[in-house]
Symmetry: C3
Subunit: 283 residues, 3 copies
């Protein structure tokens, strides 16, 4: 066999405080020394498969050809399957738990073409406990593919239609208004909504955002710098609309968090003509 | 000389906020451009040689052949020695301060075979202050070995029996009970105890954990998912028993921290037959 | 063209929680697969161009030959320029926003020799929004140079005297005293002042530090370990004087933060002869 993939991209919820990431990379280095490991992020909140799946999906189109190791795996060691999923004619192979984590990225890349369950004990490390599949199961599988081993060696082929889907909230139109949800709050406090610019077509440039017990006026802007002192709706680098402030955390200032509902209304709407913040309910 | 090691594994308490790690890697890149740097972790709590030593020891058996640069070094610049320690017939060379940090990992790999004090000023960077030995002393030493330089160039051979040992707490049997200590709390809140499954042999499947002023019932489980709603004792990937919850931080929920004593008792013990939490003392 | 640079050093305020850093590295890997990416740090506080510029300047002299991608860019997408700046006869090329971030490092390396504005759309990724120039503009430019492309391809040559300077506070002598400012608080809580040992010449070994409403006595020391139980002034690895404690955070204990003024006085000064802490004002 000749090496097939020279990049192993790695995402997890392992954080930076423990040596988990380093040990997985040590195993990869031992088994596939020619491969470069590209850390996508290890800052996914613990156990948060949805956040991990969204980060992976956002990154998917930019990933170099190779193996993608993705591990957010609260069910580690149970009978949840470990899988390897080929997409884009083998340009990318995703490896991880079959818990929905991979679904968004796989879909972004055109869908699964071939998949196996990772079960072959000969391609796993022996360990005293079953709690670190990234080290003992997934990393050896990724290395096996990187050095030119076959997908079929990892375990039995599985029906791609049995792969667990990810579930994403869809924005809902309610009359003139759009009920959205915060998908992601990034380090800078931008709160990404599950709508694109198209979804706001015909609604004007000025909007009222209703969330919690608050109304805020927001203006469409193409850059953070153009927002000025008010709240902005900026089309972000993924084409989705984010609630933003200039050089401040919008999520922090407005109290927005992942999963919050935000009702987006044209600012002509009488219910939202108030240009400043007001509280509608008791504190 | 021809390159000897193509991996330099790097652990420290430098964190991610400053450029310390990056500058050390810049020095390594300049002096040993062929080598890949594998970051084990830089999230060791500041000055915490015990935590650093444990992380290094847990990782040791997985490390690829190469130089291992480990720096948790509150005594930097004082007369504490810098050392390079060969193990496993030269498969690995540990470099760092001789303050106990390396001891556990060196022991895991079969013990020191050869060691030198790092004193040769010709293999060090000149700097205006003595506070950054990782950059000025240890990284150049690691690079020197990686490119094929000799261990003896670094400084005088030292007696391996003078290397500072690490100290680990040993669990103590007190009658039917086992007095344990929390060695490590990981990102997921699992609290690793200093006992293996063997130590619990003959004590049944159900245990009472006594710590602080609390008693909690805990059940042996092989996976986090199998714990259910109660507290679990899970044999972790290193063979040690951890106090765990399913998809929650056990350390956070139970108020456990590194160094805490946990008395493990068979649950048949009358003192621990209470199935729910109770507080034994005043709050 | 043949590859010209095999290292791309990368600094940003992107943090570790999102996949921003990983996506930029994915783009670099796709466009310049031969290059190694060296992460200097991504822990610069969000939007903090001064902190980013200082970190870059501290690291500059240690950087291996290559492209340096530096992104702290609150003005992303506005008309602030993106630039590529050659220094040291092309040993290093800095790429980033022209907002002062690069200025200190460029000066450290002898000053700009050639610079272009990065404007060529053919060397940029197409994206739905303008908020991620690191991915869409700067990374492709860095990769272009790494693989041997010409600086001139990136856009028009600009006058190096139009590059935005960085601004650093200069310590001021007021009679016998020196008014300094905290430039940097590192992970260990050392508070770096904007003075070197030369600036303290003739002032003795014992100092009074006046800040906020407090006076503390501090002693010159060459290592943290030599400080003992008091406050130390240690010449750090960059030649600047830092306020330090042994194995404790001086900034945390003394309440010092970046930007704070610290008046440094010879301890013979009657105003500062008090050897213990006292508060001069009401709490």
């Amino acid at each position: 066999v000749t090496p097939r993939y020279d990049t192993i991209t790695f995402l997890s919820d392992f954080g930076a405080d423990d040596e988990f990431v380093g040990v997985v990379k040590a195993v990869l280095r031992g088994l596939a020394p020619h491969a470069t490991v590209l850390d996508l992020t290890h800052g996914i909140p613990p156990f948060d498969m949805r956040a991990g799946g969204l980060a992976l999906a956002r990154a998917a189109q930019y990933l170099p050809s190779g193996v993608v190791l993705a591990v957010v795996d609260p069910g580690v060691g149970t009978d949840r399957r470990g899988v390897a999923v080929e997409v884009a004619e083998g340009e990318l192979v995703f490896i991880g738990p079959d818990n929905g984590l991979l679904a968004g990225a796989v879909a972004m890349m055109g869908g699964a073409e071939r998949a196996v369950a990772i079960t072959n004990p000969d391609l796993q490390l022996v360990a005293p406990g079953a709690t670190f599949a990234a080290r003992d199961v997934f990393a050896p599988a990724a290395a096996h593919l990187a050095i030119g081993g076959s997908l079929d060696d990892l375990g039995p082929v599985i029906d791609i239609f049995t792969l667990l889907p990810g579930v994403l909230p869809v924005a809902e139109r309610k009359g003139d208004d759009l009920e959205t949800e915060v998908l992601w709050v990034d380090r800078f406090g931008n709160a990404q909504l599950n709508v694109g610019l198209d979804d706001l077509a015909g609604m004007g440039e000025l909007f009222a955002l209703r969330f919690h017990e608050t109304v805020r006026t927001a203006r469409l802007a193409t850059t953070y710098g153009a927002i000025g002192g008010s709240v902005g709706l900026v089309v972000d680098s993924y084409g989705l609309v984010s609630v933003c402030l200039d050089r401040q955390s919008a999520a922090g200032e407005l109290g927005l968090d992942v999963g919050d509902r935000v009702m987006v209304q044209p600012a002509g709407d009488p219910k939202s003509s108030v240009p400043v913040t007001m509280r509608l309910g008791p504190r």
